[in-house]
């Protein structure tokens, strides 16, 4: 029972309850169970408003794809809206729209997920439609012929006509020499051109089974009612073995790789990526917690080191950021990107030197106590703020479960970060921020024809 529920139990205790209710790390009531067919279900109660989000996460994404078949997971996601036994092409969207639901889907390296946000009394409709397309997707060839054109438009819009997105796609391809993470989620254009609906059918039959999925429900519901509905609609979907899937492991030290990409930009910029483990692949979880803390120290807010020093102090860059995703199924990447300050005549070399100064300092000098306190305060508050959105709560749960971790990690986040010592940070910086692990992209304006 959580603190709020305890409070509700007796009004007389309200003053005593206050400290509990105000406690940031109070877990919300969350229940998990698995249906007989292997579908894992996680239900988190949030009774603030009579709404609910339902998400189905499949363990398949672009990192599962092989050369020549890139973009299959994403294309299949599009085709999941093109009809199953109970609804014709596009009909499920219309049904949900007429009920006032928001629905969409997304695909990444590690997962493909579908969601509906709707008034709580309509949850059964979301389940019935989602279960139906899990089991009986039609994949009509004439629908595919049109939808692949939409996907190519999407690729032109998001990547080909976006110079920085195009450069990032090339960068990723060299940053992951061994693992499937080098594949762009939307797929290479050449593969979209030759994609066949039969390949999608095979992909669907291989991966879209209840035992390869997680159903996450967050909102104004009780676990018992969700369980009954899940058993009614998803329960009859048969279990089937899925192909063996292996974590995308990367070379520890692939060696320094560098590409220069000329794109339609006026602004030179650079991307750095260091090959590092994730929480799912690390033999030593403490190194991953240290990398997460480093990421917060570098770019966890406007008072972090990159904005304070590179953007405002030395004015080396007009913009820069760092990012580390610890929640990936395979080995991850610690990335830094920067746009040199042209008005101040700063070059890519100046920006790189500034980045290395920050990285080398992490190797030798422990962070100040106040800096660590700020990170802690942000994490504590962030755990509360995240609870304002049922969708972001569900997404965190779904992502953790799908990459092979447990949703329970949410409630251990603070403790994990607090356990990191200054020595852990220095050790991680020395281990991972080396040239042998580094991929670099220089993104430059196109050269005029001679």
């Amino acid at each position: 029972m959580n603190a709020l529920a305890r409070c509700a139990a007796g009004l007389l205790l309200s003053t005593i309850c206050l400290p509990f209710a105000a406690s940031a790390a109070d877990p919300q009531p969350t229940t998990e169970f698995t249906l007989d067919n292997g579908l894992k279900v996680v239900v988190r109660e949030d009774h603030r408003a009579p709404v609910v989000v339902s998400q189905v996460w499949y363990k398949v994404g672009s990192s599962y794809e092989t050369p020549g078949q890139t973009g299959l997971s994403h294309a299949l996601e599009h085709m999941m809206f093109k009809g199953s036994s109970k609804a014709g092409p596009g009909e499920a969207s219309l049904i949900l729209r007429d009920l006032g639901a928001e629905e969409n889907a997304f695909t990444s390296d590690d997962y493909t997920a579908y969601y509906q946000v709707l008034a709580r009394d309509r949850l059964a409709v979301a389940f019935e439609l989602e279960a139906d397309r899990m089991a009986t997707l039609r994949l009509p060839p004439e629908e595919f012929a049109r939808e692949i054109e939409v996907i190519k438009e999407e690729r032109r819009l998001r990547t080909d006509d976006k110079p920085n997105a195009k450069a990032y796609e090339r960068f990723k391809a060299i940053a992951y020499p061994a693992s499937g993470y080098h594949t762009p989620t939307i797929g290479w254009m050449a593969d979209l051109e030759r994609m066949k609906v039969e390949e999608l059918r095979h992909w669907y039959e291989s991966w879209y089974v209840p035992n390869n999925a997680t159903l996450v429900v967050v909102g104004d519901v009780k676990p018992d009612e969700v369980k009954a509905l899940a058993e009614r609609f998803f329960g009859p979907v048969p279990r089937r073995d899925v192909p063996p899937s292996k974590k995308p492991l990367e070379l520890a030290e692939p060696g320094l790789r560098q590409i220069t990409v000329h794109v339609a930009t006026q602004m030179p910029s650079l991307m750095y990526g260091f090959n590092v483990p994730s929480l799912a692949t690390a033999t030593d979880p403490q190194s991953v917690n240290a990398l997460r803390l480093i990421s917060a120290l570098l770019d966890g807010g406007y008072s972090a080191r990159i904005p304070t020093r590179l953007e405002r102090g030395e004015e080396l860059v007009t913009g820069a950021s760092s990012d580390y995703d610890a929640y990936t199924r395979g080995d991850s990447l610690f990335t830094i990107s920067a746009t040199p300050n042209q008005q101040k005549k700063k070059t890519l070399a100046d920006a790189e030197a500034g980045i290395w100064r920050l990285l080398d300092e992490l190797k030798t000098k422990p962070p100040a106590k106040e800096e660590l306190e700020r990170v802690r305060a942000q994490v504590i508050a962030g755990l509360v703020y995240e609870r304002d959105s049922i969708t972001s709560q569900a997404s965190t749960i779904g992502e953790l479960e799908t990459v092979g971790l447990s949703w329970k990690l949410i409630d251990q986040e603070l403790a994990a970060l607090q356990s990191v010592t200054p020595e852990d940070i220095q050790k991680a910086a020395r281990t991972y921020f080396t040239r042998e692990r580094l991929a670099v992209a220089h993104v430059l304006p196109e050269e005029k024809a001679q």
Binding site: P50, E91, L94, R97, F106, S108, A119, R146, Q378
Partner: protein, 498 residues
């Protein structure tokens, strides 16, 4: 940098009745009324196959009731407050009539003033301010648009966090010091953004569209200004802008969260007292009707961006409910709208197409926007124009309207589901001086709208012959459109006939 692709088309429908600063929707009619009529809506067919639909009672769903409390501070700021004790946090949003429509002769001054708020207060530079908020776990955010400039704070509600966060927030918004070195840096960063925009055909087309639509009206120029207009801005100009535009009388305070009424009053008083003293600024004048035009921007992209627009409505327009439903049918509701059905679903021409009214203080735009491969751009533009013309001529079907009403009622609970959503609603109600019952009124009005009414108001505000059109993309030989899916081979290539 991990990549996540929202595969379908992000829609703006959640805003359809909302007051958010963003888009309203425009309903569009579909390619052909007759097409719509001969294709029964999915929900009817599916009702016979889906058990769960049969079990629904057809009633509008329950929603979180909002008790909006409102008062004015001693200095004249309007406050709107909703008490929500479920989470130990609160959200505050200050909205000033201090957007780029107040720029006058200095395009960009509103945005730069807003960006300078957290660059310095007495005894603290920009880094110390950032450390102050972040050390408390508080989020400060700011932004500047055409009508409004915003400063907001999200904080834990415990007194040891709330009080110092509010003190710092009040100083930042009310008594910024405008350091010279910060101004130089922000100008540089803006110059970099202007350079960056040159590679974005959608942005170039959007800027051109506003110029064509608004002429010399204050909405015409981009909120960011231009390289030429931002460079000469002085500290004295920014300070003067702040003194008049960030005055308490020109502010609305929206507040949601774990506060009692007494605490909320104290919070609002504290912030209001820190602001410069002064009255509300004059309302933005009405724009004059633009001449219809078609402008092309040559750009070496793979796709051509298409934007079609007319002047739309003000936020207080009594036709808004009917227009919003009409728009939702034409192109506002994402999948199922006529534009999405005809352009994407039946022909695969685009990833996304949408239409929308953006009601603003003065008439905001009505806009349709999409992108398609360059060689199909001319015929796609013609198709979109035909769909719009047809919708204006014939209106929606009764079925389309019934479905749109049902959708609106069904989505109502989502509009007040989180503190973040509520603070957005309160801010817009306050800023546009709408009644506290606005959300309920909008719902009630919407449910009584008729097909005839939609047809009437759509034609009152829009005219297919008066579109202002901007395209951006490469000039390439044009190709005919593929045939629509539900009308195979016997149809000639090209757009449907009327």
């Amino acid at each position: 940098m991990s990549q996540r692709i929202e595969s379908r088309f992000a829609r703006t429908r959640a805003c359809s009745f909302a007051l958010a600063v963003t888009f309203g929707l425009l309903g569009a009619g579909s390619a052909m009324a007759e097409t719509a009529a001969e294709t029964p809506k999915a929900i009817d067919k599916a009702a016979s196959t889906l058990e769960s639909l049969k079990e629904l009672d057809g009633k509008a769903p329950a929603r979180r009731s909002l008790n909006i409390q409102s008062w004015n501070t001693a200095e004249g700021a309007r406050v709107l407050f909703v008490e929500a004790h479920e989470l130990p946090m609160f959200d505050m949003r200050l909205l000033f009539a201090a957007g780029s429509s107040q720029d006058g002769a200095n395009p960009g001054i509103a945005l730069v003033t807003n960006a300078m708020l957290n660059e310095g207060v007495k005894g603290k530079n920009v880094s110390a301010i950032a450390e102050g908020f972040e050390g408390l776990g508080a989020d400060f955010a700011n932004g500047s648009y055409r009508d409004m400039a915003i400063a907001s704070l999200r904080s834990l509600s415990a007194a040891d966090k709330r009080e110092p966060a509010l003190k710092l927030f009040a100083e930042v918004v009310g008594k910024p010091t405008f350091p010279a070195d910060s101004l130089a840096r922000i100008k540089n960063q803006l110059l970099a953004s202007f350079e960056y925009q040159k590679q974005n055909p959608g942005k170039l087309a959007g800027d051109e569209l506003f110029t064509r639509l608004y002429g010399d009206h204050p909405y015409a120029h981009p909120s960011m200004g231009t390289a030429k207009s931002v460079a000469p801005l002085t500290l004295a100009q920014l300070k003067a802008f702040h003194a008049k535009a960030y005055a308490a009388g020109n502010a609305v305070i929206a507040l949601v969260g774990d506060l009692t009424r007494a605490e909320a009053e104290a919070v609002a008083s504290q912030v209001s007292a820190a602001l410069p003293k002064g009255p509300a600024l004059a309302q933005t004048v009405a724009p004059t009707e633009p001449k219809p035009s078609e402008t092309h921007i040559e750009f070496p992209s793979k796709q051509t961006h298409l934007m079609l627009a007319e002047l739309g409505i003000t936020r207080g327009d009594p036709d808004y409910a009917a227009l919003s439903l009409g728009n939702s049918i034409l192109g506002g509701g994402g999948f199922g709208s006529r534009l999405m059905t005809e352009v994407r679903e039946k022909r695969g021409l685009t990833y996304g197409v949408s239409s929308g009214f953006t009601p603003m203080q003065a008439q905001g735009p009505f806009m349709i926007s999409l992108q398609t491969r360059a060689e199909l751009s001319e015929n796609t533009l013609k198709l979109v124009k035909d769909i719009t013309r047809d919708f204006l001529a014939n209106g929606p079907t009764q079925k389309e309207l019934d479905d749109a009403k049902r959708e609106l009622a069904g989505s109502f609970p989502l509009a007040t589901a989180s503190n973040a959503a509520i603070v957005g609603q309160l801010g817009a109600v306050g800023f546009y001086n709408l009644p506290l019952t606005y959300l309920e009124d909008f719902m009630t009005q919407s449910q009584s709208v008729t097909v005839e009414q939609i047809k009437t108001v759509m034609n009152k505000h829009l005219d297919a012959d008066k579109l202002v059109i901007v395209t951006a993309g490469p000039t390439v030989p044009q190709k005919p459109l593929p045939p629509p899916t539900d009308k195979p081979a016997e149809q000639p290539l090209g757009v449907p006939e009327h």
